[in-house]
């Protein structure tokens, strides 16, 4: 799952996946729904395809794209050990810890501002 996160980092690519999650679609459909140029969509699809996140099928001149789940399973697998951190009864403790501020530090030092 080397590069999957990099691919998912692009918001429009996630939008494409979200669109393909419900049903497979030709490129033109994605172009309309995303409001991007056709070459831009095509490039994103290439990236997604090289990452194994989508698959293609040819229908005459059209190319029908659909979701492929395997890389997402890898992400899910990476996330799994983390998930146990909030799915356990440790939940309450975790929330308490997360509520603590990020130690902004003293603004003017131990001897005071003036």
């Amino acid at each position: 799952m080397e590069a999957v996160f990099e691919v998912l980092a692009e918001p429009n690519r996630r939008r494409i996946l979200d669109l393909l999650r419900t049903s497979e679609r030709p490129v033109g459909d994605l172009v309309v729904r995303l409001g991007l140029s056709q070459p831009a969509v095509s490039k994103h699809l290439r990236v997604l395809r090289e990452a194994g996140l989508v698959g293609v099928r040819s229908d005459a001149q059209r190319r029908i794209y659909r979701l492929r789940t395997e890389p997402l399973r890898a992400v899910d697998a990476w996330l799994e050990p983390y998930r146990s951190l909030w799915e356990d009864r440790l939940d309450a403790l975790e929330r308490h810890l997360d509520a603590m501020p990020d130690d902004p530090g003293p603004p003017d030092g131990p001897h005071g501002p003036g």
Copy 2:
């Protein structure tokens, strides 16, 4: 969860999270274990902190970093509708579809190579 994926896209940052998943650690410890320069680690920690993925606590001169799970929960939430795609009985069907090749296309056109 706007920028979480971008932050996670960096492999060394994921390594940092993996290290912090088991226990909180000071910066120097991360430097040793990652084999990166101290400034590099410090910069990654800044990014992680601004994304809310880690928190800091001061211990004398040391700064102890620990994991914060909230952004990862957001990723998990994004993944949830996808997860149902392979956690259902549709699993077998999905696998079958994923096994299909990516339509490489004809190598030399309809009239043949020669």
